[in-house]
């Protein structure tokens, strides 16, 4: 697909791609959760994420020339055109990796969406208003699980610490503030990501302390998602996500 979106569209796609790729990953738990209640809970989060992705794609696509619909944006863009955080495309791993990733991202996302409810873009503001409530539930759910695992058994503690160590390097991407993020901040459409960092660290520190988990000491972070550079896992996600509509490009479903 010929595709060169402006910075405003890139920003919306970044938000939408985060939601879709995370929702796609989480939905892999469906039917395979550790207990029925948690299966249902994690599917709720997946449903909310994909629901948010749809609203954001619709908004982004309407402003494009020519206009594109949500499915064209989700199913017919290539890997380099996806602008999601690389953390969200990592395999689910065990329950600890899934929930620690969720905790890091939900905490960031809540702070971000809180500010998006004041966006200068009215449609984005409306989407954020609806999404914020959902993200609030997600953030509470994932923080509770981090504490439960950190302060549960020896095994759960070890798994949770391992997940924290493994995922921490991907959190640096949240706060990169150049390109479309800088432009969105100038327009007052979105907060500057780096402004969110102190609040994020405060919240994350508090939960990690309560969970008895150690925060990694690290100065080097992964990068790339906002620029469309992805991990080895992304291609497989898109292969699964996109294959059917691409096989029948003229079909209606």
């Amino acid at each position: 697909m010929e595709f060169s979106p402006d910075l405003r569209t890139q920003h919306l796609l970044h938000l939408a791609d985060n939601a879709l790729i995370l929702g796609q990953r989480l939905s892999e738990w469906c039917g395979h959760g550790p207990v029925l209640e948690q299966d249902i809970a994690i599917i709720n989060t997946a449903l909310d994420q994909i629901g948010q992705a749809r609203m954001l794609y619709q908004h982004a696509g309407k402003g494009m020339n020519p206009a594109l619909d949500e499915d064209q944006l989700a199913f017919f863009r290539t890997e380099n055109q996806f602008l999601n955080f690389t953390m969200l495309e990592l395999p689910n791993g065990d329950w600890a990796q899934t929930l620690v990733r969720q905790f890091f991202f939900d905490t960031y996302n809540y702070l971000q969406y809180e500010r998006l409810t004041e966006s200068s873009d009215p449609a984005l503001r409306a989407i954020a208003g609806k999404a914020l409530k959902e993200i609030g539930y997600h953030a509470q759910f994932s923080a509770e699980w981090v504490i439960r695992m950190g302060d549960g058994t020896e095994e759960s503690h070890k798994r949770a610490q391992d997940a924290v160590d493994r995922l921490w390097p991907y959190t640096g991407e949240f706060f990169e503030s150049d390109g479309f993020s800088a432009e969105a901040a100038v327009r007052r459409a979105a907060p500057l990501p780096s402004d969110l960092q102190p609040h994020w660290e405060e919240k994350v520190d508090a939960v990690l302390v309560e969970a008895g988990l150690k925060k990694p000491v690290l100065q080097w972070f992964q990068t790339g998602g906002r620029k469309g550079q992805h991990t080895e896992h992304m291609g497989y996600i898109l292969a699964e996500l996109q294959f059917l509509p691409r096989l029948h490009p003229e079909a209606q479903w």
């Binding site: 796609q24 039917g31 959760g33 550790p34 948690q38 629901g51 989700a74 439960r148 695992m149 549960g152």
Partner: protein, 327 residues
């Protein structure tokens, strides 16, 4: 007189059973605390737990397509549908628990391969059209059975069914809508829909269970008003309702003997392959192994998670106890 330990046919038991039958005949609902014959309780535990297992195992063939759903709208709808099935599992396990068993115990039986679940879920879902066919036919067949069960004599089961039925009819419409899009779509989509109907038609008819003559427990279940229609009656209703729906889609039902019988006022249909049914029930269906393995894997990999949640809950309870002592 809540329960009886064993089934000595004492005059007291005979009196209670007669009273129970009378009570059920009067269209009264049996509640957990009421006296009930041991065999009634046992039948219900078996039926409700099989039903619960079916909801949960039934998540797997459809979960197979969530990642590959061809539009975001379909993805959300399918994910929500499979989540509903998990919820149905929960309601039903809770209904079974009112009869004095616990969910873990029932689950262990499933994982050990001792408990049954609906055989339909041992068939594979190789195509997107299977999401349509399952919603339309499998949820459709389930509804026929479940609408009847909304009036079953055991109160908690009947009430669980009322909630479930509302969602199931939504699932069925959703499945039919998928079929409608496919059958009015490109030639490849239409072929996909026909292929799915070919594969799901006969297994769906088998969902109603053996012919009445081969189903000895049915009569007792009918007397207790657990069931209110026989397997064959329900099957016939389903066929009569579904044939026109297939016609509307422009798809053909894979039964050369299917035709309207004016005298009976029903469709006649060809013989069901009961040998296949028996084999799939016995564990030899195309996916029996995979389905059970998937459930076992989820259960085993979830063990440390459940243990962590328990350990944390205990620690919290202890902490609360300590602080209240101090205070």
């Amino acid at each position: 007189m809540n329960s009886i330990k064993n089934q000595e046919p004492t005059s007291e038991t005979i009196r209670l059973e007669a009273r129970f039958q009378n009570y059920v005949d009067g269209e009264n609902k049996v509640e957990p605390k009421d006296w009930m014959p041991g065999a009634y309780r046992k039948t219900l535990i078996r039926q409700i737990s099989q039903h619960a297992h079916s909801e949960v195992v039934g998540m797997l063939p459809e979960a197979n397509w969530i990642g590959r759903a061809p539009s975001l709208r379909r993805k959300v709808a399918l994910l929500a549908k499979v989540q509903d099935e998990a919820g149905h599992g929960l309601y039903l396990y809770s209904a079974a628990e009112t009869l004095g068993v616990d969910r873990r115990e029932l689950l262990e039986e499933l994982l050990a391969g001792k408990a049954k679940y609906s055989s339909i879920f041992n068939y594979p879902t190789p195509s997107w059209a299977d999401m349509g066919a399952i919603g339309w036919l499998v949820d459709g067949a389930a509804i026929a059975n479940q609408v009847m069960l909304c009036r079953t004599s055991y109160g908690p089961y009947a009430r669980a069914m009322v909630k479930i039925c509302k969602e199931e009819s939504f699932h069925q419409r959703q499945g039919y809508e998928i079929m409608l899009y496919l059958s009015k779509g490109t030639p490849a989509q239409k072929a996909m829909a026909q292929d799915a109907l070919n594969r799901w038609w006969w297994p769906s008819l088998m969902m109603f269970g053996p012919n009445d003559a081969e189903s000895p427990n049915s009569a007792q279940s009918m007397r207790w008003k657990i069931k209110r229609k026989s397997n064959d009656e329900l099957r016939q209703e389903f066929i009569d309702k579904t044939v026109p729906q297939a016609e509307f889609l422009g798809l053909s039902i894979p039964d050369p003997e299917l035709r309207w019988n004016e005298a009976r006022g029903h469709y006649d249909f060809g013989p069901i392959n009961w040998e296949e049914f028996k084999q799939v029930v016995a564990g030899n269906g195309p996916c029996n192994r995979e389905r059970l393995e998937a459930r076992r894997k989820a259960d085993e990999e979830g063990r440390w998670v459940r243990e962590a949640a328990n350990a944390y809950a205990q620690k919290q309870a202890q902490r609360r106890a300590q602080t209240s002592e101090v205070a």
